[in-house]
Symmetry: C2
Subunit: 357 residues, 2 copies
């Protein structure tokens, strides 16, 4: 497999860049396969777990905190790895010093003509900006975020496999939801049983975003599981978004603990029809807005998107929304999630779709 770093050539040439400095978690995973466990929030031991520096000849170095795990694929991707000191106890924690020193030497090793550097504007911290301005007072920063977002819309085959694996986890969680939901337990207790089965299936903790709400809480479409007790007849809305090795899965189911009312059954059937209409219509060449329109036309409006791309973010292009006339292409991965929200319950059904044409 070719390294995805080669995809940066287009941006490097278009913007006449000397180098690209990649700092966001999603882009690090995309270009270098480096994935870090993000559930603990900001680390007290480093400003960034890694940065990826790619020069215009595609020489690439991943500068990595020494308490992080390097990507196993580095050698095959011709990626140099350098580590910087993060956690130490013998000397004061000044992780920026070693990190910035090494970044400085990496920049020093490159011969810049014009000092045009491609960066990611939302994830480049001031401490790096300041260093680069100090090293090259005439430096120009060019934001690569739109270029990278565009690259990521159409997935590589290996990415689709990663997303498929994450969706397998969604299936495990949804099956567990129907298996364990019963009157008398709380939403949170149900959630912990579902998450346990998902984690155990992988053998590791899996980051998981989830809406899990019951009864009238489902009418607003979502929310974190809380200590609300589930009652007989409660509708459960379960939207599971796990992250496996950096790639997200996404699915939503709605079911009742006990018997669905006739009204709920009709609502469910309508939402399922809308989902089937969307899945049936989705193919290369169709506009995102057309899919959105067909689904809303069948069941009426809902106060959110009809769907979205899924990959290294849980919500990315192509957005399936009224304004988006982007033509769909093969190897996109798209979540469709039509919904009907009544006064006392809500039903949303979500599947992921891709097509190899």
């Amino acid at each position: 497999m070719k390294s995805r770093i080669e995809k940066l050539v287009v941006a490097i040439e278009a913007h006449q860049l000397d180098a690209c400095l990649i700092t966001s978690a999603a882009s690090l995973r995309y270009f270098s396969d480096f994935y870090f466990y993000f559930e603990y929030g900001a680390s007290p031991f480093h400003v960034l777990p890694a940065v990826l520096l790619v020069d215009k000849s595609l020489q690439s170095t991943l500068l990595l905190a020494d308490n992080e795990t390097p990507p196993a694929t580095a050698a095959g991707k011709n990626l140099s790895i350098r580590t910087y000191s993060s956690y130490v106890y013998e000397t004061p924690l000044d992780f920026n010093r070693d990190f910035l020193n090494q970044l400085k030497s990496l920049f020093g090793d490159m011969n810049f003509r014009t000092s045009r550097i491609g960066i990611e504007k939302n994830s480049l911290p001031f401490v790096i900006t300041e260093l680069l301005i100090y090293l090259h007072p005439s430096i120009e920063f060019i934001d690569l975020s739109p270029d990278i977002d565009r690259l990521r819309i159409v997935k590589d085959d290996d990415e689709i496999e990663q997303i498929r694996a994450a969706c397998g986890l969604c299936d495990i969680g949804q099956t567990a939801a129907m298996k364990y939901a019963r009157p008398g337990i709380t939403e949170l207790e149900l959630f912990t049983m579902m998450r346990a089965e998902m984690d155990n299936a992988v053998g590791l903790r899996v980051p998981l975003m989830a809406d899990l709400v019951s009864g009238s809480r489902s009418a607003t479409g979502g929310g974190m599981p809380a200590d609300k007790v589930i009652s007989e007849g409660d509708l459960i809305l379960s939207d599971l978004t796990p992250c496996l090795n950096g790639y997200w899965g996404d699915s939503c189911n709605s079911f009742v603990v006990g018997e669905m009312s006739k009204k709920q059954s009709r609502t469910f059937a309508l939402v399922l029809e809308a989902l089937d209409i969307g899945i049936g219509a989705i193919r290369p060449g169709v506009k995102a807005s057309t899919i959105d329109e067909m689904m809303r036309k069948h069941i009426g409006n809902y106060p959110h998107h009809s769907g979205h791309g899924v990959g290294l973010h849980y919500h990315e292009e192509p957005r399936i929304v009224p304004y988006n006339h982007m033509e769909l292409k093969k190897n996109m991965v798209i979540a469709l999630e039509p919904a009907i929200y009544e006064k006392d319950y809500g039903i949303r059904l979500e599947h992921l779709v891709t097509f190899f044409s």
Copy 2:
């Protein structure tokens, strides 16, 4: 209770600042009580969930993404709240536009003399740096991180209560570990049962960092729970670090599934003695390095700190390490965690200590 924002007066005067722009999760929680759920990683709907702008007369505005929950205490703290548009489906996601426009107008409302702005160098994204330079070409950025870190070493009484509550969760998790550990289940299965009890005690999902390792895996001192099966006689090392409303708890226990060997019992007794020595010696006026030295002297060296402060980060000052001659003060909250790592097992015991003198 006085607002913690008033503590910024010292830094504003010392650095002759026109304003402070607070961007890190810990500082936002510290100064404004705003806490956001960070387990899902970077959001596709905003660059920062909030920023806090404080001018030199302490006029304060929390600029908040409209999909985040404002702090309930805002009114009592004389904190203005403004929201910016984050998730929308009717128009393209360009959350930076509204965010930066509002930030621009907030800066426009202030009369800057010298344009000296206090910032946090590790959490200020390029997209804000760029805006501020555009608005005030002569702007000077002064890093407030050392000032804020210094403020946070000694806790306010309400902070100690928050940390105490997080430690209550540690206790629940440690009790569950001893209750559920048995031969034949995996570390991860044990972990999910422990986490379930912690979450259920709160009625909400609680971010949780944890070492949970068994048998020879304990010899290295830690690691995430994996699908390694627990056997009779395995030593379990359980280090639990939950985050409750932004404040972390931290505790570590080591126990055996079945009977401890005589050697393990001796090791355990030694580590417990070291912990007791540390707890007994810790008091205002004692140097951090003295506590560190006393503990290491009793049981020999271990390849990590003897302890650390706990608060809005799970590792902060005062670090209980050989080089740190900082004098301890009342209202510090300190984790002590001596350990002995043998070839085939490791024992670490960790308690949190504070003193009101």
